[in-house]
């Protein structure tokens, strides 16, 4: 189960919400990157919100994935926000020497949605905002 848990991608308004809740091996990281880009193209979402509040470790590989997703999403006219980094993870990342180039980070999901809405104007077009229900796209969420 470890590492092979499918990470759900939720579409909320024009934002893809990606709650990472499992420790990811490298294959899972690469697969997730690919799935996010595929869903960006398929759904026309303009924002990506990646919740890493349950991640107990971000090493150089995962850090690079976050930067790469932000860069690739940017080319596809979408903005990426990473939310909920644990303090110990943030300290370790800096000591490791990673900068998470091009990635906006905020404390929690509320702030992430606010940033996407206020700074980038994502989520308010077409009146679908964030009050719409959750649409599950891609694969099914794994049962806990």
């Amino acid at each position: 189960m470890n590492g092979h848990g499918r990470i759900p991608i939720l579409k909320v308004g024009r934002v893809l919400v990606v709650p990472i809740q499992v420790d990811m091996d490298d294959q899972t990281v690469l697969l997730l990157q690919e799935r996010i880009l595929t869903e960006l193209e398929r759904t026309g979402a303009r924002g990506v919100l990646i919740d890493i509040s349950l991640l107990e470790m971000v090493d150089s590989f995962i850090g690079r994935m976050l930067s790469d997703i932000a860069a690739m999403a940017r080319i596809m006219d979408a903005r990426t926000v990473v939310v909920g980094m644990q303090p110990a993870v943030a300290i370790t990342l800096v000591e490791l020497g990673l900068e998470l180039k091009g990635v906006d980070t905020v404390l929690n999901v509320d702030e992430g949605i606010k940033l996407l809405r206020d700074e980038f104007g994502i989520g308010e077009e077409e009146g679908d905002a964030f009050q719409g229900g959750l649409n599950l796209v891609g694969e099914q969420i794994n049962p806990a």
């Binding site: 490298d26 107990e56 090493d59 150089s60 690079r64 644990q86 303090p87 110990a88 370790t92 000591e95």
Partner: protein, 118 residues
């Protein structure tokens, strides 16, 4: 996986969350190097005892892979022969108290790290 094992051992030895995270991250970086460059190898975990009675955790990563041709270069931030970010080795060194590389081209690599309980 190496990460979970190291986190559990670190927690049992009394390391607090931040040091657990540092050690887990080091294990992830160095175990990845072993798999990436050598295909396979060993991770040995030991309780370390210092001269003044202090205790810590020692992690040894051993492989019989191609070895590191230029250790000084490999320890430089941003240098990578494997298409990575070049943060794995120098970054890991910053996360521990002691860091030692023994490597012979064609014979393998052993990296030993220690983090002391403070």
């Amino acid at each position: 996986m190496a990460r979970n094992e190291v986190r559990n051992i670190a927690a049992r030895l009394g390391f607090l969350l931040l040091d657990q995270t540092r050690l887990t991250t080091v294990a992830s970086e160095l175990a990845r190097n072993v798999v990436k460059y050598a295909g396979r190898g060993r991770l040995i975990t030991q309780m370390a005892s210092g001269a003044t009675g202090r205790r810590g955790l020692r992690l040894i990563f051993e492989d019989e892979g191609p070895g590191i041709a230029d250790v000084d270069l490999a320890m430089r931030d941003g240098y990578s022969t494997g298409g990575g970010l070049g943060k794995g080795l120098p970054g890991s060194k910053r996360l521990v108290d002691e860091f030692k590389i023994e490597s012979a081209t064609g014979r393998g690599t052993r990296i030993t790290v220690v983090r002391w309980l403070h």
